[in-house]
């Protein structure tokens, strides 16, 4: 870690003031401190959000408003989340470890950076860490990398679970910043790498996530299927979040999101359109997968993610459409 100054914001307003002055926000620190030790992140000034008053979960109409500082553990333990948005609780519980979930926060988790081994190694070229240096992953060991949404500059995935569930649940990211408040649909929050992979999301300088709003519960069958090498405490190779409602043997409504498949949490309405109104069958699931993966591109070691995603999708849809085995 480089030396830095650490301030403690006593309110959201004070936090915004510090951010406006160029400070970097720290909440749980589970990702930021990790990156700072390796000098992948080198902020000169940090502001702690711990006392900034963003730690509540509250009813919001028919929906729910989850403060940015609510820990992953508290969010997954919240009885409203468990009853009405179980997909979110399941995705959170599939991630990291109990210790990390006790510290990691809702806002911080949305801003989690990639696990690309070249991003994490300062001896290697990485456009996300060091713009213009190149992408060593493309021709390197890229087993965990993205097959959708990649660019010449970057093929790294967004590695988290929580945001994938939020994407299927159509959450909205609430922010405050120098230019006021914003409501950003989560589908627009994360940015594919394009030619500027250093920028992971749409947050502007000085802008702070204050909360995430979940819309009214869908009442659907909700499954989060995380496929990974270890049985626990490992990042996904591919994950599938589904929220689906059946009606008279047909798929009446369906939201699908994928983790560790694309450079950002991935949702493709065309895939859902294939499914809606149809009776579930292996052929239908295969067709959905075909639409999902039509532009998928592997880079060698991660080629397997393409058939894996198709099969994980089939398994998850098979589960979800067979009643509700949620």
């Amino acid at each position: 870690m480089r030396p830095f100054a650490l301030d403690h914001a006593a309110s959201t307003a004070e936090a915004l003031q510090f951010l406006d002055d160029g400070a970097t926000a720290i909440a749980g620190g589970t990702n930021l401190v990790d990156l700072m030790k390796l000098q992948i992140a080198t902020p000169e000034r940090l502001v702690s959000l711990r006392r900034s008053g963003l730690g509540d979960i509250a009813q919001d109409g028919e929906g729910l408003r989850i403060g940015a500082l609510v820990t992953n553990a508290d969010c997954a333990a919240d009885m409203q989340v468990r009853e009405n948005w179980p997909l979110l609780a399941k995705a959170i519980l599939a991630g990291a470890s109990p210790q990390l979930r006790n510290r990691a926060t809702t806002g911080g988790n949305l801003c989690q950076r990639t696990r690309c081994g070249y991003f994490y190694d300062t001896s290697q070229a990485c456009n996300k860490r060091d713009p213009g240096s190149g992408c060593a992953a493309r021709e390197g060991f890229n087993r965990i990398h993205a097959v959708l949404g990649t660019s010449d500059a970057c093929i790294a995935t967004y590695p988290g679970d929580m945001a994938v569930a939020m994407l299927a649940l159509e959450a909205v990211v609430l922010t405050q910043g120098p230019s006021g408040e914003r409501e950003i649909p989560i589908a627009q929050f994360h940015l594919p790498p394009g030619d500027d992979p250093a920028r992971d999301n749409v947050l502007e300088a000085g802008e702070l996530i204050t909360a995430v709003r979940l819309p009214a519960p869908t009442g659907g069958v909700q499954i989060y299927r995380k496929v990974r090498d270890r049985a626990s405490y490992a990042f996904a190779l591919v994950s599938v979040a589904v929220d689906l409602t059946m009606n008279e043997g047909r798929i009446a409504r369906c939201a699908l999101a994928f983790g560790s498949l694309g450079t950002v949490p991935w949702r493709d309405p065309a895939v859902e359109q294939v499914l809606i109104g149809e009776a579930p069958s292996s052929a239908l699931f295969a067709k959905a997968a075909e639409v999902l993966l039509k532009d998928a591109q592997g880079f060698g070691a991660n080629d397997f993610k393409i058939p894996l995603a198709a099969r994980a999708l089939a398994a998850t849809l098979n589960d979800a459409t067979r009643t509700g085995k949620a």
């Binding site: 830095f4 403690h8 609780a89 470890s97 210790q99 510290r103």
Partner: protein, 178 residues
């Protein structure tokens, strides 16, 4: 800046937090307070050896800046029990040989203690079928809930046996035995 009065209570004793904001909770406990029972295994939240309890909840102390703990109550392995007066959880680890080299052990035990509280609070895990029901401490549940603590010696099944014994005793006696 850390205020001159910034303090955290560690094992019941108030201590001023370190001046260097880079110092993690782990380094502070080990180097400044001499509480070396909390171990550094990876320093990046990838092994669980540094697990301590903050306000009763388990965290990786390696990824938490010490200055962010102003006013917190922190419990480390040293407060759970001493060699002469082991807590039931520690005793069960000895009886079941729930360790070999011993390096991950304090983290496993702190984690296990917090796990029991999480079960009591009805928290679900990735193994829990019904998210809204009270979780039952099946071996699968315990393994999932302990998965943030790596043991390279491979004492896992003995650790789970120790934990099962203590949880069963706790259920029998309705007391806090950890």
């Amino acid at each position: 800046m850390v205020s001159s009065t910034a303090m955290a209570v560690v094992n019941g004793v108030a201590n001023p937090l370190p001046a260097d904001p880079r110092r993690t909770l782990l380094e502070w406990l080990r180097e400044d307070l001499g509480l070396t029972g909390t171990k550094k295994g990876c320093d990046h939240g990838q092994c669980g050896a540094c697990t301590v309890l903050v306000e009763g909840r388990r965290i990786n102390s390696c990824l938490s800046l010490a200055q962010l703990h102003d006013g917190d109550e922190i419990e480390t392995i040293e407060a759970i029990g001493t060699p002469d007066k082991l807590a039931p959880l520690q005793r069960a680890f000895v009886t079941h040989d729930g360790f070999q080299c011993g390096y991950c052990t304090p983290g496993q035990i702190c984690s296990a203690k917090a796990l029991m509280q999480e079960l009591a609070d009805g928290w679900a895990s990735a193994q829990t079928e019904d998210l809204t029901a009270r979780p039952s401490p099946t071996p699968e549940e315990l393994r999932e809930r302990m998965s943030g603590n790596i043991c390279r010696c491979g004492a896992y099944s003995n650790i789970i046996a120790a934990l099962e014994e203590v949880i069963a005793a706790d259920a029998d006696h309705q007391g806090t035995v950890a």
